[in-house]
């Protein structure tokens, strides 16, 4: 029996209206419909207060009977006062203006308007006014289902009514989970996830049902609140008595899990799209307009960098040091992803700055190394190969800081690794000197630079692409344009990897001196 009995005084009105509001919200009535119910009940209650007990004090009893489906209910307003049928009052004149309009008469009118049916009867010494509610189509713009996550009657009789002031903490993250709450009025805030839980919702059920029984967030009252709480023992007891309620609570938890998962996935996708933007920014940092110097016919150059993840640690660069010298660089930062990409940007920029001074490649690497060491808290390191090509003579001067040696035309139609010390990587140890080596490139000859993402590409049998395959692919590309050489190498690596995702960034640069008619690719 779901009822509330209070003295027949105006002071009792608030409690009666809250009694109705809580039941309405948990029975599938929307906020607007709930207010309509309250209007009808207020008129009925106020009627009793004003008329039922003219010579004495008395009580009013309000009973709630849920209907067969959500959005239906019956409410009884009972009193033991003088016999009085509220429907007998005169109807108001709805068309009257201010002067003619009478102050009374609206009470029963509202009751009629808000209810499906109004039934009054006299039972012994009692007046019983029964209000029958059914949802009216178009009566509300809100989804009443969203208002009641359980979509069935909440066991309020088994719950404890608690009043909390604004700022009260219901529970903290990390606390053992003890109770589940229904918010009858007010709203709660979960500060850790910056979420506000409004009136009509259930909170805390996850703590009761999750395997760890620990609160994952705190709940703080945004305003003065009235909540109904139920603890684990009572919930367990209810589960055995009311399997439908049990199912509905589990359903609610599953919904929450799905919501949380969706939120996490969205957050991940946001990061992914930021990384994709970063990839574009990084790609734009490397020169990618070909031919880069259309008026310079002494050479051809082509390059590409494909990061293993969205952003990578490889880089290449080329630029005119002065009118007669072309600088070409390739580098590989330890690691992958965002940290490597950031360090790569620094290395590439510093390298170009040093190179533009017109120093020898060995000195460039030495100075670059010192600068990197000075500000390298994260202990990242980078391999770098740098060459300077004299465009008048074809002479190249180069230095290597731990990078795989480039391949160069061997003068008889094939390729061979470039001679000279491999050196050591930059950024950690202050090496005395990087050595500068020189040699001459003949007309039509090519120098091919690559990163170890090429040589260390693996296939499904875990074989490496290795230098041997690089050389073989190059030997078969003799006479092609720089662009074609690069493309063929990239295709060869892709075909070798048989669709497995690359584990490292792939960087390829081909520089060919003019002097032979460029063969078609």
């Amino acid at each position: 029996m779901d009822l509330l009995r209070l003295p027949a005084r105006l002071e009792s009105l608030e409690a009666f209206l809250e009694f109705i509001a809580v039941r309405a919200r948990t029975s599938g009535f929307s906020i607007l419909q709930t207010k309509e119910l309250q209007l009808a009940v207020e008129e009925a209650v106020v009627n009793v207060v004003h008329h039922a007990y003219p010579h004495s004090a008395g009580e009013i009893e309000v009973k709630w009977r849920p209907g067969a489906v959500p959005g239906q209910a019956e409410i009884d307003i009972e009193d033991t006062g003088i016999p009085f049928d509220p429907r007998s009052a005169a109807a108001p004149d709805l068309r009257a203006g201010l002067e003619e309009r009478k102050v009374g008469g609206l009470g029963i009118f509202f009751i009629d308007q808000m209810t499906e049916e109004t039934i009054w009867r006299r039972d012994g010494s009692k007046n019983i006014l029964t209000l029958v509610f059914a949802p009216r189509p178009g009566g509300s713009a809100e989804k009443s289902k969203a208002a009641n996550p359980l979509d069935s009657n909440f066991p309020l009789e088994s719950m404890t009514r608690e009043i909390h002031r604004k700022g009260d903490v219901l529970f903290r993250a990390g606390d053992p989970a003890g109770k589940m709450y229904f918010i009858a009025s007010g709203s709660l805030r979960l500060p850790e996830i910056d979420k506000v839980v409004p009136e009509g919702e259930v909170i805390g059920e996850m703590g009761l049902l999750s395997p760890f029984h620990i609160r994952t967030a705190s709940a703080v009252c945004e305003e003065d609140c009235i909540v109904y709480s139920i603890d684990k023992e009572e919930v367990t007891r209810l589960f055995t008595l009311n399997s439908e309620l049990a199912f509905k609570i589990v359903h609610l938890c599953v919904q929450r899990f799905i919501e949380n998962l969706r939120a996490e996935t969205e957050a991940k996708e946001r990061i992914q799209s930021e990384l994709r933007i970063a990839r574009d920014i990084q790609a734009a940092m490397l020169p990618r307009v070909f031919p880069p110097f259309p008026d310079r016919t002494e050479f051809e150059i082509f390059a590409l960098m494909e990061p293993a993840k969205e952003v990578g640690g490889d880089f290449y660069d080329f630029f005119l040091i002065d009118h007669d010298h072309l600088g070409v660089a390739i580098g590989d930062v330890s690691g992958k992803g965002v940290p490597a990409a950031l360090f790569m940007a620094i290395c590439k920029t510093l390298l170009k700055t040093e190179a533009l001074r017109g120093l020898s490649p060995g000195e460039i690497l030495t100075r670059l190394n010192r600068t990197l060491i000075a500000e390298n808290e994260m202990m990242m390191f980078v391999t770098v190969f740098f060459l300077s090509l004299d465009l008048r003579t074809g002479e190249i001067a180069y230095a290597n800081g731990g990078h795989p040696p480039p391949f160069v035309s061997n003068g008889s139609g094939g390729f061979e690794p470039l001679s000279g010390p491999t050196g050591t990587f930059l950024g950690i140890v202050d090496v005395c000197r990087f050595e500068t080596i020189s040699r001459r490139l003949g007309p039509g000859e090519t120098i091919f630079l690559y990163s170890d993402g090429v040589s260390e590409a693996t296939n499904s049998a875990l074989e490496l692409f290795a230098e041997a395959r690089i050389k073989k692919t190059l030997d078969q590309s003799e006479g092609r344009t720089a662009e074609a050489i690069v493309a063929r190498m990239r295709d060869a690596v892709r075909a070798f990897a048989e669709g497995t995702a690359p584990s490292d960034d792939i960087t390829i640069v081909a520089l060919t001196l003019a002097g032979r008619a460029a063969a078609t690719a």
Binding site: L13, L32, E36, G97, L98, F109
Partner: protein, 110 residues
């Protein structure tokens, strides 16, 4: 229920927030009587924060309206919404009072 009045362009803008039921309407009556005694005769009732009004609330409005009319004053009601709007419609109070969608247009009714 919260009720606050401030003067704007010679009219008293009364903002009512919360609910006007049989209990809180008495407070509304009291405050309005104070303003009337102080000589205010042009009221704009800002109901943008009013969540609920029962027949008791309408009765208070009617009494205010009749008192103002006796003083050759006027009341305009602005920004009714939700159930308050519904109540005004079904009770016919739209023809008893001037009802406007905004404070600005309410000023225009004077």
């Amino acid at each position: 229920m919260k009720i606050e009045g401030k003067t704007e362009s010679g009219r008293l803008i009364v903002a009512v927030e919360g609910r006007m039921d049989a209990v809180s309407s008495q407070e509304f009556d009291r405050k309005c009587d104070e303003w009337l005694a102080a000589g205010e005769s042009n009221f704009i009732l800002n109901f943008s924060g009013l969540e609920y009004i029962s027949s008791a609330g309408l009765r208070s409005l009617l009494i205010l309206g009749k008192k103002l009319s006796a003083k050759k004053g006027k009341v305009v009601i602005a920004c009714v919404k939700d159930v308050v709007k519904e109540v005004f419609t079904i009770s016919g109070f739209g023809s008893v009072f001037a009802v406007e969608d905004s404070i600005e247009s309410a000023h225009g009714r004077f």
